[in-house]
Chain length 277, copies 4
């Protein structure tokens, strides 16, 4: 059953991106989301909360009201209400307004602290932004194609971290900061990913030798995910161009390194990426 | 001589992965291994050991008994007992149950501490997990193909680390933490792999200048293993697809970037990887 | 209107790089720029400023006078004065001499400190150096081709950092150094880029577990920009060689992996890169 | 003039690697070099020097004598003495024995310390090892092909470091550890290469924001050398195989992804790399 009247118009504005009104709505919505997220970030600064607590509180409810209206409007004008509510973005839209209302129920002495923590969950609003970036598909598809290899890779890294963590626990022991095997594994992950906080460091010569080995292994291992992703990405990049259509003549099937349409000679630089289902 | 009766059935369950019973056994075994490894990790936390030492001790022996029975069953039903016992996994299976029994012999005052250290060796059980991941072959083959280049690369890195470590020892000296050349080499490895713990840092302007050079070299060097692995991985990826068989018509010989079988047009997405001997 | 007389000669010397005089001028100019930048760097060292302040001050004005004369000469002999003044390098040339003159107007008690800060802006002179490196085009073109993908990548990284930063703020809290969400986001960026200063570190087991996850995600994510740039660079590298002309016969259209000209057999090693508009 | 008698035999043993004696000599020499380098490393440890100083001193002179004999023998049996002495390895061989003799001349109170510092130069003996690894050629050739791009890349990184270093000096200032612009540049290099010692860290919100930007730029920049090296290495890898000869029929010209000789079907796995001059 096609939508009619106000519901159809609202659907075009809120869900659509083709009409000027729909585009304008999206820009305003993204700006509002960014502002509300910025508000949560600033409200977490102790000194600002003490001084501008009332303003933060008022703005908090202003944004909550705004997003509630938006959520209800989305449900009202959705083509299939049930599937919207249980879709990924339907759940995210709901989670974005939930915390403020939850703070009303759990009132009491610790009210302010609780609302501050719950408010943080509103960050999930940021996830909405992803919807507006269509070029992310290529990256996501590359990562998805490589999912099995990435899983194997992470399993190997974890096994290496557990073994090296245990060895370091025996060698260095609690008196040098390696208080338990889980802590040693944390140290190994910090080291093998080349983060290197320096909160825990080996002090015995043997520990430093094993740490050096861990680092050199990590150095080599860092190449593996890069290799996996690069190989998949190069493959997807070539395929995207092959499937793309020329802006001038509309025909596809170009080579991966083609610069001009082989049918009409039109420059292919800003060709339309093909969306797949 | 083919196996018969109970031995044949046990062999299918323990070593095989084709029958439902064999699959079920593998899932239970992996879960048990993960649980026993988790136990070792938690038992190393001082405060937990003090409180739940008895439970850890009991569970420790429960898992040891379980893995002992499994090890004996594997020997009993193996097609070639000798080759199983001396195979990689045969040795790992043996090492996984050894520490607990060793702790019985070396009793005395330091009993508890010793058993804790020996217990850590049980981590090798985790290595069993690798057996269940068949996709690791591609990664291992890529690394194996590149073994000579990786060796040359590591030799060069070590030579650079020894030279820079010696220079830093002369420039900074023991009073800034560079107590000996081995320690300076440890610092150079920490720096060139971009880990950067910060437990030892240069304080003189000249030392900071040489450190900057070390980092920029490390920055460039990090590209080399990535390049090696990526080049090999891209090669292996293409070859794997070339050797793969179509699910529909069973014919192989597809191009590296093929999406559909060129013989029957069937989608190739989840093709079977070819295992090589 | 073509330039004549002294103006034409000056134009060839200052803007041109084909005549011996033009090449000599460029070498002298680059050396002067490097010297003046080095002067700003050294003058910022407290102890040197106290001792050699007068010399720094004199050299400062010497370089300012030199670059002022150069700037006026550039305007005088430019083919199109207006377009030079508002071009990127015209603005940079102007910004390079501005700070010293501004220091004359804002005299007073804080004179010395102000001039020191303004002087730092002179660093932009270094940007002039880029003009002399023509090979940078390939790198810049590769990055430009990948601009949309890089933007998507950075957006995703920022979203991940905001979410993980918020979670760490709740888990670790102000008493472990995570004083506010912005600070936690700073920590997450430090961690996910594998920098790992160690000024803020997680102390609770849960915080360390989440930190480990952050690092492993960062480890995988580091592969994405590498994959993007490598794919684009390999594409541009092949295309550059295809467009390049043989030194011997002047013909183009060679394969990406060609070592010798396919028309005359001349070695292609140091072929001229093609500049595109 | 061809060599004869003892000189010819010595030349084959010392410079050659084809005869059993030549191979045996190389293995012994490499082992001796590694031992003498290990000696220098251990002698730098304060406590070991105090206890075993005499043994270190004796071994030091034993190795010096050995290498002196070797150096003289090399000069005696070289095909072209002049070109050997001034070749890279001729100079390295000379530098490896020089420090011990220099220590004889500069005797006195600081004798022990001086000899220890000079001894460090003996590390250059390690460089000899490179000669024995022929597979390094591919890596070196790849890096050489990319030399111009790597130079452009390093120039850009240095310009970015100088600009960000100056900005951080203004923003954070001496009271937060950014004592001068050179120190700030050192911090920027530590940060942009993702080393992150943590000896200097930003404390103001603005400084942390700029530091975050620096890290994210460094994160992206790390992709560029990887892309350059990978592209060159993939190219060289393909070319090496193309130039390689089959072990069975001796014919070359195979495809980059060939696994078997296209002339006789022999497996190509361990083909001989072609050495180029």
């Amino acid at each position: 059953m096609p939508l009619t009247g106000a519901r159809k118009w609202l659907n075009e504005v809120i869900f659509g991106t083709d009409t000027p009104a729909g585009k304008y709505f999206d820009v305003v919505l993204i700006s509002t989301i960014l502002l509300s997220v910025g508000l949560v970030l600033l409200a977490s600064v102790e000194s600002w909360w003490v001084r501008y607590g009332d303003i933060f509180f008022a703005l908090e409810w202003f944004f909550t009201a705004l997003f509630t209206v938006e959520y209800l409007a989305r449900i009202y004008c959705a083509r299939d209400r049930r599937s919207y509510v249980f879709s990924f973005y339907g759940v995210v839209d709901f989670l974005a307004i939930l915390p403020s209302y939850l703070a009303l129920i759990f009132t009491g002495a610790t009210y302010l602290m609780v609302i501050r923590l719950l408010r943080v969950l509103r960050i999930f609003r940021v996830l909405k932004l992803v919807r507006y970036l269509s070029d992310a598909n290529l990256l996501v598809r590359s990562l998805w194609q490589a999912r099995r290899r990435i899983l194997v890779f992470y399993s190997s890294v974890l096994v290496i971290c557990i073994i090296f963590g245990s060895i370091m626990f025996i060698v260095e022991g609690p008196k040098h900061g390696f208080t338990s095997i889980p802590t040693s594994i944390y140290w190994t992950i910090v080291t093998i990913t080349t983060v290197g906080f320096g909160d825990i460091t080996p002090h015995t010569p043997l520990g430093q030798a094993i740490a050096s080995m861990t680092m050199l292994i990590g150095y080599s291992i860092i190449a593996v995910p890069t290799g996996i992703v690069t190989a998949e990405l190069a493959h997807e990049l070539g395929r995207e161009k092959q499937l793309a259509r020329c802006h001038n003549c509309g025909r596809a099937g170009h080579d991966a390194n083609a610069e001009y349409c082989k049918h009409c000679g039109y420059k292919l630089e800003d060709f339309e990426p093909v969306t797949e289902e």
